[in-house]
């Protein structure tokens, strides 16, 4: 992975300043300011409809804020052109390709497409694909149809795609929906490992206990930002109750 070379600059991976976004007249996000530092594992939590996915879209430059700025690797996020640096796993990744005849390797190879849209794959391209498959432990499934894997295995395929891209940032939107508890834990261990090796990760998940266990930073969101900081601190404050508007108890998993 190339994360260490690209993160020598001290600039944040993502810098959001006072960003607001609305669908029509319905405000979704209000004056959000947030920075994601290199090597961070940011967990975004918040109730349904709190604007988590929209915030992630702003971060990776899929949407433009109505006001405020979002910078990605120091550039305005929507103008940022080096697609291979962003590994994005959309919310519906588990349903993607379920019916489609496509192999694990074919999906992982897509990670190289931003670098090589036409022409033969180089030895380096093929090596990156093989390494990515190996790294998430699905090398033996490479020739299998993605739709015929279990939910947990399928998630790893999309992580491998981001790794094959040699991305510096991995952004995941509720990746473990429909994945059984055991695979989910293994999946988060994998994310934590990747984070320790230097990959910056942003994760949205509804399971607050899991997020606070694995993330190094927590952003608690419900249209505006209720908390941004250390997970342990987050558990101690009542930001969660404020954001959710009810009594919520955090089950902090011990690992």
């Amino acid at each position: 992975m190339t994360t260490s070379t690209t993160q020598r600059q001290s600039e944040p991976v993502i810098q959001i300043k006072n960003a607001s976004f609305s669908y029509g007249s319905a405000p979704v996000l209000e004056s959000i300011s947030l920075a994601v530092e290199p090597g961070e594992f940011l967990g975004i939590v918040g109730p349904n409809g709190s604007g988590k996915s929209t915030l992630l879209d702003l971060m990776v430059g899929l949407r433009q804020p109505d006001s405020g700025t979002v910078r990605l690797f120091g550039e305005p996020a929507t103008d940022f052109a080096a697609g291979e640096r962003i590994g994005y796993v959309p919310q519906d990744a588990t349903t993607v390709a379920r019916e489609m005849p496509i192999t694990v390797r074919e999906v992982v190879r897509m990670g190289r497409y931003p670098r090589r849209l036409v022409g033969r794959f180089s030895a380096a391209d093929r090596q990156a694909v093989d390494d990515a498959l190996e790294q998430v432990g699905i090398a033996d499934l490479a020739a299998r149809r993605v739709g015929r894997l279990s939910g947990g295995q399928r998630q790893r395929v999309f992580i491998a795609r981001a790794l094959a891209a040699e991305a510096d940032l991995l952004a995941l939107d509720e990746p473990t929906v429909g994945v059984d508890a055991e695979s989910r834990e293994a999946f988060y261990e994998l994310l934590a490992d990747l984070n320790r090796s230097g990959l910056t990760i942003i994760l949205i998940d509804h399971d607050i206990g899991v997020v606070t266990t694995y993330a190094t930073e927590i952003a608690c969101l419900n249209r505006r930002l209720y908390f941004d900081g250390d997970p342990n601190e987050f558990v101690a404050t009542d930001a969660l109750a404020e954001a959710y508007g009810t009594d919520q108890h955090v089950l902090h998993h011990n690992h």
């Binding site: 697609g83 994005y88 005849p101 849209l117 739709g147």
Partner: protein, 350 residues
């Protein structure tokens, strides 16, 4: 038995003509001296006389081309869950044909109805894609409105033109082998090469957009461009194939073989290849049956294709049901089983 005489204008003289003309001359030479001669030989060897008739040779060549480009583009379309779009564009292509005939009759022009069909179908394709940009998603309803609207425009224009032009409309609606001229086949071969090269060039972005458009956008692929390319390709295929298959049935060539291939294929590339094979089988069987029994070619081809789909489906259900072959044939059974099973059916990629 030799239907053709072999002395045609030498290829060299083609240089004196305009590029299009000389291209066509080369094609004509190929059609007669290479393809035609080959088919004549085949007819002699096999004793199947119809293979020696020039118009049947053209029909087979046209059907073979359609069976390549239909599934080639259809595979992307079907897996983007846009099967309906091919039907919609076919029906608006009919409006395009009617526009051409109407212009010719009203202003005494000699525009090719096929040319207006191309323009109208490609225009509609881009318009639909533009609407989707604003509305966010394709909806059955909007496609149904465009489909029926296109067909309505076609039927109104035809009746608005003085009687005569209704003649020949049947050929466009239901397709016809008899009307396939050298020019038609030449155009079809050219379009097949053109469509084939475009898909080959844009294979990766088209695949990425088909599988996962949001991730493709995050990877900074020009998703909008490739979505447009996909619908334009669909329009080109539909209009190219329209004359043989007919407006009403042409969509089947983009959908049915693809559906059959999706049942058994493991990889996307394999599914394109299998879909083309299924379509070739259906096309050749369909054209042959249609000639022998004097039946509609389009309908015969589509029925043959559906036959292939049904056969694949029932073989699959049967083997799944008995469990005898299921371990080998359908890997989904063994996902959570031992790794030996994984290796047993998982080693043929690349």
């Amino acid at each position: 038995m030799s239907v053709h005489t072999t002395t045609v204008r030498p290829v060299g003289s083609a240089l004196q003509f305009s590029p299009v003309e000389s291209l066509f001359t080369v094609f004509e030479w190929f059609l007669t001296n290479v393809y035609g001669a080959g088919m004549d030989l085949l007819a002699d060897l096999s004793g199947v006389q119809m293979l020696g008739y020039p118009y049947m040779q053209r029909a087979y060549l046209a059907a073979v081309c359609i069976a390549v480009i239909g599934p080639l583009v259809g595979t992307f379309l079907v897996h983007r869950e846009l099967s309906m779009l091919s039907d919609t564009l076919a029906h608006t292509a009919f409006a395009g044909v009617a526009v051409g005939l109407f212009l010719n009759a009203t202003f005494s022009l000699s525009v090719s109805p096929l040319a207006t069909a191309f323009i109208v179908a490609v225009g509609t394709a881009l318009l639909v894609e533009l609407l989707v940009d604003y509305a966010g998603a394709y909806s059955d309803t909007s496609l149904a409105i465009v489909l029926t609207g296109g067909f309505a425009v076609g039927s109104v224009l035809i009746t608005a033109t003085d009687g005569g032009i209704a003649v020949g409309i049947n050929a466009y609606l239901f397709g016809s082998l008899a009307t396939v001229s050298k020019t038609n086949v030449g155009l079809l071969v050219f379009m097949s090469l053109f469509i084939g090269s475009l898909v080959a060039l844009a294979y990766r972005p088209l695949l990425y957009v088909t599988v996962d458009a949001t991730a493709a956008k995050a990877a900074r692929l020009n998703v909008r461009l490739y979505k447009r390319l996909m619908v334009v390709l669909t329009a080109l295929v539909v209009v190219s194939a329209m004359q043989i298959m007919g407006v009403i049935l042409v969509a089947a060539m983009l959908v049915v073989p693809v559906a059959a291939a999706a049942l058994v294929a493991r990889s996307f590339k394999q599914s394109i290849l299998l879909a083309i094979l299924a379509a070739e089988f259906a096309a050749i069987v369909g054209v042959t049956i249609s000639y022998h029994y004097g039946l509609a070619a389009g309908g015969s081809i589509v029925l043959a294709a559906i036959g292939v789909y049904a056969a694949v489906l029932s073989v699959q259900k049967l083997t799944d049901g008995t469990g005898l072959l299921s371990r080998q044939r359908s890997p989904q059974r063994s996902v959570d089983q031992s790794t030996t099973t994984v290796k047993a059916d998982g080693g043929d990629e690349e």
